[in-house]
Amino acid sequence: MNAKFLSYLVKRLFMALLTVFLVVAITFFVMHAIPASPFSSEKAKSDAVIAALEAKYGFDKPVPVQFLNYLKSILHGDFGLSTGWVGNTVIELIIGGFKYSARIGFTAGILALVLGVILGSIAALQRGRLLDKVIQVATTALVSMPSFVMATILLLVFSLQLGWLPSMGNQKGGLILPIISLSLYPMAYTTRLQRSSMLDVLGQDYIRTARAKGVKNSKVIFKHALRNTLTPVITYAGPMMAYILTGSMVVENIFSVPGLGRLFTNSMLRTDYMMIMGVTIFLATMIILMNFLGDILYKVVDPRIDLS
């Protein structure tokens, strides 16, 4: 690890932290620009009750003070009390939901990357042949389908019509369909990325040299080519995470998985501001973290990349 890399690391980390701070600030001020009080939407309460509730949740103080308090408590891992699920703290609910979302999201992400790299490499090696064309048509179709369309069609076909898989997330094997519906889009995207990257690398001089030396085809592909094709896929890890986390909002709703995405949409319905803020900040931090790790990994894997 040289000095240049270290300075890049520090700079990138600083950027990531700044972005997290910005997200917190945007979230806080956007939510506080709403004129409605979180308590006014419910059944008529007396002014005294609302005032007492606002005092309890700290909503009676000036906005900048509230912001500083909010920042301070977030740093202690305290996202406040949920107003939609009374008696629960936001962080408890987030962790409870994240258990499901992480399981689905992680599996879907790994599935998408592994299958995408395999399919993309096959397509590149079979360039112009039937298999390549089939893969290209299928991936083009898949990246044109929103996650909710994919999920609902899977639900309709495999659960309602054929009855092969359960439609609810809490049943046995109920997470299979959500995982598939989340992974199809990133898988198709990775396949396209891997295909063009593989084609690019296979045209390089060192591959021709290796072939000319008489290296076995399998060794050329796995040892010389494949490693060098993976860098674009690594940079996709961050955006993929963003897709999976936001996609899980609709997928978890469709398959009734009690994950973070469903929690988020439910907290919108219940106008639970603390919850909306908490989940937004949590999800954003996850995405920023993945982007950060992806960028760093990218430079570690391929030292040729200019750090400036």
């Binding site: 004129p35 309602l160 963003a242």
Partner: protein
Amino acid sequence: MPDTKKTFKNPISLQIDPALFEKAGDEEKAQQVTMRESVSFTKDAMRRLRKNHIAMVSLYVIIAIALIAFIVPNYYPYNYTKQDVTAQNLAPFQYSAKEQARIAQGAEVFPHIMGTDALGRDYAIRVIYGTRISLLVGIFSALIVIVIGIVYGSVSGYFGGKVDLVMMRIVDIIYSLPDVLIVILLSVAIKDWVATSGSDLVARLGAGMVSIFIVFGLLYWVSMARQVRGQILSIKEQEYVLASKAIGASPARIIRKHMIPNCVSVIIIIAAMQIPSAIFTESFLSFLGLGVSVPMPSLGSLASDARTGLRSYPYQLLFPALAIFLIVLAFNLLGNGLRDAFDPKLRS
């Protein structure tokens, strides 16, 4: 050659012997005439695009969809709000009992091409209106991105130095903000704001639409700005720019004649890529109930509503799903075609 020096009559060109030259004949002159008119970059790209069958078919599909979405509603016998309790959840081309009675009396009843929804509204016109919303969102978002991206990117690239550094840092930060989350957050806030303060325009457009446009204006132009800036920076250093400066071209002329034409390809490619992503975001928000306000339909909200009767009326899901798939697919394929046509270097 012994006495060449004597044969030279022209003192300026000591090396050339005029006797070795002869006048060009008409045939030779004809070879110098330009055989075909000069082809501009855009014309050349359009020719390449026209040769790309997939892209052209996509273009025709988009035009056809746009014509249907913007013309058909004016002449359609049903509208998207009219409910009919006697005609709930009809299958495509099925008539309600009341309509059958009218047909029996000899009246002509326009068929429900896609059936009706749970409130007895004609489904085809709702899908058509949803398509219209999707197209509008796509096109307006692309326009916002084009305008802001070009202005920001060219200012940053043209001035360079410290201005560029600061402007690009801002872009870097915006680039790393999770856009979809911010769209959702804004939609929630705007929706509540509409509910309490009751702004008519915002209410008519819908919270999702307004927040999509805001977020596109705030966040999505960054990739356009980056590309335009990069392009401007590299063009600035080109020798032909130096040459035109040397012969006294004004900065305005350089920007008009050299910079903008060289940015066109980047602008077209990125704008074309932006459209499907905007359509995706709008349908996603509408699916979550944050998009257009009822009774205005959107392809996302239609798909979401179809979930309740999914087992009995699967076609209520399939029609909007197919519409959005077709639109996004056509824009994606056209985008690929435009990329290949306008930037042959990027061709994979």
